[in-house]
Amino acid sequence: MAYTLHADVLKFTTKEQTATTELDDIDALARNYRPRLLRFVMASVRDEELADTIVQDTLLKAYRNRAGFRGECTVNTWMTGIAVNLIRDHARTQKFKFWRKAHASAVDATDMANHLRSSGSSPEGALLAREQAVQVREAMELLSPNQRTAFLLRFIEEMDLPDIADAMGMPVNTVKTHLHRAVKSVRARIGGARV
């Protein structure tokens, strides 16, 4: 029992120390987390420049507040939580500008498919993958902000439900509700397109 407790404490301490070391180097932080954060933020705000700015602010805020990181969750969850809050703040303070810009760039966002690489092994495979990605993105555009965030974090970032609840600052059951509504909507959209 005592040994188990000691091992747990040691494990927690080691985890916290690793995270603290990682947080002390902002370039390492950017190298490790920027792509995933950018993918999530871009899918949320649908504006490349705005996504770059929010990701940069997320990294700087995480670096500035690194002393406050207690190691109770992973660095990824902690930083995703910061990004979620920054997206919310931005949407709240510049609501009109934000949505006008989002709608204006919706056409450009469709062009994001053009930026997507052709990863399939054959031209047909590449085309199919691109079409599937565009379908998912279009289906997510119909979701509410909370549904989209929950869906992205669960099925694109592959985070666990408690981590999503942490990042979104809401109970797990609320996250589940958003998630099920989102799945229903995406199923209807993609299933409908398939039929």
């Binding site: 920027r34 940069q56 700087l60 500035r64 690489r117 990605a133 998912v136 669960r154």
Partner: protein
């Protein structure tokens, strides 16, 4: 198939789909899994390429730290000045002795006070002088005494 059950199976690429009611459900699950997988790969690759072109954040972080430290320094300076000012003020208050309070009065005020006292004294002396009677009685002005002595002389002459 319910959305809850569907959501549970979505993240499991090799989920056991034998329990599913229809082949349509199995196909839908596979299609959506494939679509999500494609989206995941494509967007991550896009984000990696875009991130690779971004400049280092080290300079910005340093600049931000300096700006963040500025209000703290300003606050510390104000606190220090307040404390030093308070200490100096207290020390100067204690240095002043009660007996020397008069000496610390402004020099201009002292002659003014002396003049006032002299003026008051002069006024009181004048009133006192007016109130005190140094001359003869007002009755003397009527020469009643002369008339009286003349009458007495005439009476004495008649009796002689």
């Amino acid at each position: 198939m319910t959305d809850e059950a569907f959501a549970e199976l979505l993240l499991k690429p090799h989920a056991d789909t034998h329990g599913m009611e229809t082949a349509g459900d199995q196909q839908e699950l596979r299609d959506l899994q494939a679509a999500l997988g494609s989206y995941r790969r494509e967007t991550l690759h896009w984000a990696e390429r875009r991130s690779a072109g971004q400049p280092s954040l080290a300079d910005k972080a340093r600049a931000q730290q300096r700006w963040n430290a500025l209000p703290q320094w300003a606050l510390a300076t104000v606190a220090l000045v307040t404390i030093v000012g308070g200490v100096v003020h207290l020390a100067s208050d204690r240095a002043v002795e009660p007996t020397s309070i008069a000496a610390t009065l402004p020099a201009a005020e002292q002659p003014a006070a002396t003049d006032d006292v002299a003026a008051d004294n002069h006024l009181l002396s004048s009133i006192d002088a007016e109130l005190s009677y140094h001359g003869g009685s007002p009755v003397d002005g009527l020469r009643l005494r002369d008339a009286g002595s003349a009458e007495r002389t005439e009476v004495a002459g008649a009796t002689d």
